[in-house]
C-alpha cells in the first residue's frame, strides 16, 4: 500500500459500541477532508522501494559482536547465529545456483533466491543435508493454497509446521519420538528456525511490523517434526521423501490416561479439537485439523479395528460444536460458510469444523505416554506437500 492515501481508524474497531464506531468515522472523515485536493496526497508513480537495501557486512570475528549486530539490525530471532560467510553459504548451496528464485515471499514480496535461503539456513545452524527439505518447504509455502500472505500478516499465532516424510527424515536426523515438538534435536530445531528466519528476513514479517500476530507463539521459533513410522499401525501418512507445511496453531494437548477403546480416545480428541477460541470452522472451506497421535493412543485405536480413514471420519463426525455455542463469541458474524451451513437454524444442531473427513490429517509421532496432540489450522491456509528434489 506504499504511496496510497490512508485514513487511520483508531484501534480497536471490533467490539466497540455504535457511538464509538461513529466517532471513528468522524475522525476518518476529518482526515479525508485534508487529503482531498491536496497534491501532496496524490499517489506517486514510479519505483517505490519497499525498504532500504540491506548490505553485506564486515564484522569483528567474534560471536558476541556478530550477534549484537544481527540483533540490532533485526536480522535474527534473538538467539545466537552461525555467521553466514560466503564459504558456509556456498557449502549449504552444494552447487545449487544461488540466483535461482523460488518465488516472491510475502508480505514484502522479496525474491526467495536459493542464496538467501542458504544464508538463513547457515545462521540457523542447519546442516547442508537439510537444505533440500528447506527448499521444498519454501516451495510448498508459495503454493497459493497455503495463503502465505495471510499466514505471515495475520494477528493469529499461526506458524508453519514442517512435517518431514520418508526415509530422508531419519537420514538427516529429524526426530519423531519423545518430545518431538520440543528441544534437543538439531534437525528439528534448525530446519524450523531457518524457515522462521527466511519468513522474517526474506518475507519481511517482523513482529508488530508486517507480522501482526497479537501474541505469536513459541512455535514461531521452530516447528518441525517427522512421522513415527515404526509406531504407526497404519503406516506413514506419506511414504516418499517429501515435506508438508501446515499453517497451525501450537499443539493442543490430548490427555487421555483412561480410555481403552478407540471411541474413548477419539472422544477426548474430538473434544480437544473444538473450542470457541480456535479459528477452525469459521472459514469452513479452508479449515483443517492435524491429529498427531502418540504411539500408545494410536495402538489403542487400531486395536479396535479402526483404519486411518475411520479415524478421519470419526473425528469429522464428532469434532463438532452446537450452533448455540458458536453464537457466543469467536468469529460469529464473520464466518465464511457455504449456504447449506448458513441455513441451519436449530441451535442444537452440531456443526462440522472442517469440510470433510479428508481435512482431518492423521499421523503418529511421540514416545511412550498417554498423550496426543491436535493442531488446528489457522482456518485460512491449507496444507501443502512437496516432494524432495535436488535444489538445483
Amino acid at each position: 500500500m506504499a504511496g496510497l492515501p490512508l485514513l487511520v481508524v483508531q484501534h480497536p474497531l471490533g467490539g466497540e459500541p455504535p457511538e464509538s464506531v461513529a466517532r471513528r468515522a468522524q475522525q476518518a472523515l476529518e482526515q479525508l477532508a485534508s487529503l482531498l485536493g491536496d497534491p501532496a496526497a496524490a499517489v506517486p508513480t514510479g519505483a517505490i522501494p519497499s525498504a532500504p537495501e540491506a548490505p553485506d557486512l564486515s564484522l569483528p570475528d567474534d560471536p558476541e559482536a556478530v550477534l549484537a549486530e544481527f540483533v540490532a539490525r533485526q536480522w535474527c530471532d534473538g538467539l545466537p547465529i552461525i555467521p553466514p560467510t560466503a564459504a558456509r553459504v556456498g557449502a549449504m548451496l552444494g552447487g545449487a545456483p544461488p540466483d535461482r528464485a523460488l518465488g516472491a515471499l510475502p508480505p514484502l514480496w522479496r525474491p526467495a533466491t536459493l542464496e538467501k535461503l542458504a544464508v538463513n539456513a547457515v545462521m540457523a545452524g542447519c546442516e547442508p543435508a537439510a537444505f533440500p527439505v528447506l527448499v521444498a518447504a519454501v516451495q510448498a509455502m508459495l503454493d497459493p493454497a497455503f495463503n502465505l500472505y495471510g499466514v505471515q500478516a495475520t494477528t493469529h499465532p499461526v506458524a508453519p509446521l514442517v512435517i518431514v516424510h520418508g526415509p530422508v527424515a531419519a537420514r538427516i536426523g529429524v526426530h519423531a519420538g519423545s518430545g518431538c515438538f520440543g528441544p534437543g534435536f538439531r534437525a528439528n530445531a534448525t530446519i524450523g528456525r531457518a524457515l522462521r528466519l527466511i519468513l522474517m528476513n526474506v518475507g519481511g514479517a517482523w513482529p508488530g511490523r508486517h507480522d501482526m500476530a497479537t501474541q505469536g507463539s513459541p512455535a514461531k521459533f521452530a516447528y518441525c517434526i517427522a512421522e513415527r513410522v515404526d509406531a504407526s499401525p497404519w503406516g506413514p501418512w506419506r511414504a516418499e521423501d517429501a515435506v508438508t507445511v501446515f499453517g497451525g496453531e501450537p499443539p493442543h494437548n490430548v490427555n487421555d490416561h483412561v480410555s481403552t477403546t478407540a471411541a474413548g480416545i477419539l472422544a477426548t480428541v474430538a473434544d480437544t479439537a473444538v473450542s470457541l477460541g480456535s479459528n477452525v470452522g469459521w472459514f469452513l472451506a479452508q479449515s483443517q485439523l492435524l491429529l498427531v497421535l502418540g504411539p500408545e493412543h494410536a495402538a489403542t485405536i487400531a486395536a479396535d479395528g479402526f483404519t486411518r480413514a475411520d479415524v478421519q471420519r470419526h473425528v469429522f463426525e464428532h469434532a463438532r460444536l452446537p450452533l448455540r455455542t458458536l453464537k457466543l463469541g469467536g468469529m460469529w458474524g464473520m464466518q465464511d460458510w457455504p449456504a447449506w451451513l448458513s441455513a441451519v437454524r436449530d441451535d442444537d444442531a452440531l456443526l462440522p469444523q472442517v469440510p470433510s473427513p479428508d481435512d482431518v490429517f492423521v499421523l503418529v509421532a511421540g514416545g511412550p505416554g498417554k498423550h496426543s496432540a491436535v493442531v488446528p489450522n489457522c482456518t485460512f491456509s491449507r496444507a501443502v506437500s512437496r516432494p524432495l528434489a535436488p535444489p538445483g
Binding site: 504511496g3 468522524q26 532500504p52 553485506d56 553466514p84 528476513n201 479452508q286 465464511d336 489457522c378
Partner: protein, 95 residues
C-alpha cells in the same frame, strides 16, 4: 581483532510501479465504494462514513462490497466492478 565478511540474510529490495489517479478535489456528485474486509464493525463504519460523505461532501452514491473473508484478497471481479463504478474506493485493512 580479525574481521569476517557476512552475507545479508535480507531479501533484495523489490521496487514496484504503482499507478493510481490522485484523489479528486471534492466528492460532490461522485460515487464512492467500500471493500468490507469482514472484520467486526467494518460494516457499521462504512455505514457511518457513507452517511457522512453524502451529507457533508455531496456524494451521490455509495457502493458496498464484501470480501469472502478477512484473510483473502478481494476477487478481481469485485475490484473491476468498483473500479468501473466508483470515483473513490475505500478498502478496509486491519481490525
Amino acid at each position: 581483532m580479525a574481521r569476517i565478511r557476512v552475507l545479508t540474510p535480507v531479501g533484495a529490495v523489490r521496487s514496484e510501479t504503482l499507478v493510481a489517479p490522485p484523489l479528486p478535489g471534492d466528492l460532490a456528485g461522485r460515487t464512492v465504494g467500500f471493500i468490507d474486509n469482514t472484520k467486526h464493525n467494518f460494516d457499521r463504519l462504512a455505514d457511518e462514513l457513507g452517511a457522512l460523505l453524502r451529507a457533508r461532501h455531496g456524494v451521490t452514491a455509495v457502493l458496498r462490497r464484501r470480501k469472502a473473508n478477512a484473510a483473502v484478497a478481494a476477487p478481481p471481479e469485485l475490484i473491476a466492478e468498483l473500479a468501473k463504478a466508483c470515483d473513490v474506493v475505500f478498502a478496509g485493512s486491519g481490525d
